[in-house]
Symmetry: C2
Subunit: 128 residues, 2 copies
Amino acid sequence: MASTELSRLYRDYIDCLNRQAFDALANFVGDDVRHNGRRIGVSGYRAMLEKDFREIPDLAFRIALVVADPPVIACRLSFDCTPVGEFLGLPVNGRKVQFTENVFYTYCEGKIRDVWSVVDKAAIEAQL
Amino acid sequence: MASTELSRLYRDYIDCLNRQAFDALANFVGDDVRHNGRRIGVSGYRAMLEKDFREIPDLAFRIALVVADPPVIACRLSFDCTPVGEFLGLPVNGRKVQFTENVFYTYCEGKIRDVWSVVDKAAIEAQL
């Protein structure tokens, strides 16, 4: 797969998340997907995203920076949103916060196989 | 610059950090370098690294994953080290901790111009 093709595929995945089109998730995420080394599978991945949208009703994924070199793609995602209660163990409680997530994805046969994510929790703490 | 050339240049930069060869830092880091959007310059960058090595005498940068697409390169760095006192505001106090940093670099004229870094503070908290 070429870099441009992987980037397009990844942008379609992000679009799927933003539309909360979770029935289409299996088009982008492999059956045996792992998140930070833990095998959660596509059903666990969907559950994780549904929980995120419950905790943050105005959640939107925005791509700030993307680097593709198949089969790996890295993205800096930026968020500007309003977690209703606790988020990452922090008492955000309806405040608007800005933060980023730097995340790597390894693809296998056109789907996400591994996600290595770090969310900038310290940035949220600094806003509370 | 080709991807392979940027990757080699980046690995030389990481080697420079691990050797604490700070006099050579200006070969890799631009005069007007910014860290998470804040202009710190090469002297501020050196001061930041010297502080890191004071707080973590056994600090070593290990590349877990790297993706290059010039002028941007992204790296997942892994650490297994022993901060002597507080680190990122956490009372580590000589315990051995493992954590990662997902970081993006934008290059300009062969040197690092922008660093966008997120350190996995939550992973350290979970080990205390």
